[in-house]
């Protein structure tokens, strides 16, 4: 097994087995996914597969945590990085010490990912042996920004977020899709007696952002002195699995986009 030199990112308790920088050839992302999945799946009959939105730049650090299943003798994991358009930009296989967890700081893996809303972002997919637990923590140096836990949704399970709307905050949802086809969603805001709805499309393996105060501006009458309780419901009309995070920015000086662009 070949040890590769450091690639400019932090990856703990691990040995890199394959890195895209060494031996990856670009082609259609769907084909890549099938081939790569097959190589890992040949070792395990069942597997755990997770998909997270990430943000990684000077304001955000995203870290993938992997806790192996008790009976997993290999502790080997496949990681793929997709940009917001669903294009595969990086992939690697990692092997951790038997019985111990591992973590991968994504910052150094995502330099090929595009910016949207001033944030370098995309999706990370992890495939491991059945019973493995995955989580992706997003830290921010901005104390006024809160990132919610991941909410998974499907055709059966709607996404649901309480919102605290005011002129001193901004709420953004970050959605991503695990499907190999485009996903269609309806996002409905419940505010007072109004419940406007809009439809959005997410490309296969892609990501999308929605700033609530901008998208629903005509329906909002925000008060600078009081938070307004509202709710967001997100329903998928396709069979793809999706995940959503809510980013809440409290600010006194600038709005969300200006702040990250500064």
């Amino acid at each position: 097994m070949k040890n590769y030199p450091p690639l400019g990112f932090n990856l703990f308790n691990s040995q890199i087995l394959i890195s895209m920088q060494e031996n990856f050839i670009f082609s259609d992302s769907n084909n890549i996914s099938k081939e790569s999945s097959a190589s890992v799946m040949s070792q395990v009959a069942e597997y755990s597969r997770s998909f997270f939105w990430f943000a990684a730049d000077e304001y955000f650090q995203s870290t993938l945590y992997i806790s192996p299943a008790r009976q997993d003798a290999h502790n080997q994991h496949q990681i793929k990085i997709y940009d917001i358009d669903g294009q595969l930009t990086n992939q690697l296989n990692v092997k951790f010490v038997h019985g111990l967890p591992g973590l991968v700081e994504l910052d150094g893996l995502v330099s090929n990912c595009k910016l949207q809303a001033g944030i370098r972002q995309g999706s990370v997919e992890v495939v491991s042996a059945a019973g493995t637990a995955h989580s992706c923590e997003i830290n921010t140096s901005n104390r006024e920004l809160t990132v919610s836990p991941v909410c998974k949704l499907s055709r059966e399970k709607a996404g649901f977020f309480p919102l605290h709307l005011s002129t001193k905050s901004q709420n953004m949802i970050a959605l991503n899709s695990l499907g190999q086809s485009d996903s269609m969603l309806k996002v409905r805001l419940y505010t007072g007696t109004r419940s406007p709805e809009l439809e959005i499309k997410i490309k296969a393996f892609g990501a999308e952002n929605l700033i609530i105060e901008e998208e629903f501006a005509e329906y909002l009458e925000l008060d600078p002195h009081h938070d307004q309780q509202a709710y967001l419901r997100i329903v998928s009309y396709t069979s793809n699995d999706l995940s959503v995070r809510l980013l809440e920015q409290k600010y006194s000086r600038t709005n969300f986009t200006q702040q990250v662009m500064e």
Partner: protein, 234 residues
Amino acid sequence: MSKVYHWVSFAYHDSTVKTAIHFFPYSGSISSTYPVELTLSVFGNDFETVQITMEGARLSQPDGIILDQVFPALLSQYNGLYGVSLQLKCPQQPQLDLSNSVCLTELIGADQILRFEARLINSAHNFELNGVCRSSEDLTSSLVAINVSDVVYNNGLPAGLVRSEQKPTNQLLSGSVQELRISDDYLKSGLNQVTSQGEMLINSYHLQTPAPEIVYFYLERNRQSNALQNVQTL
């Protein structure tokens, strides 16, 4: 008789933190806003279980309540964690499947809001739980175990995972809410890594859930202030 869907969570009360419970009764493509009956209970080690039934909730309509406003007398003198149980049913459509409804807890502090999902205990149960725990000079971690059954259970935590000076560490009484700090020795037996968040001790934990009515959460607190910083529903 209507089928009842039952969620379990925990709440927190002190002079700076209040708890809101938000719920979204949902049954897939059904768009009719049938009335939904909500039964809310709070319970804990230091007070009797109090239960109220509320009307006015409707299918596909999100709603929420602030517990401090619903139980002002009970919580005014109380500081700490306590358990919350929320049950939804649709009397007009007794067979309606509400299992895809969502129930969220919000711990609202002056500086931050922590939000996490309550655990639905009707659904197919994962008896083996697996996750990562960690600590640093700024961070401690613990597990919260809640028993909403009528019987005493072993708390399902493996030996050595939580600090041994805390008693009882293995008995989980009916209606009890236990927060058990993860032991430094256990964390030291995992990884000791310098990360971009500083030096951290990180280890995996594996729990064997004894019954569907036993629900777990993973918590992280600020080591200096003891303030809650992170909650995960297990």
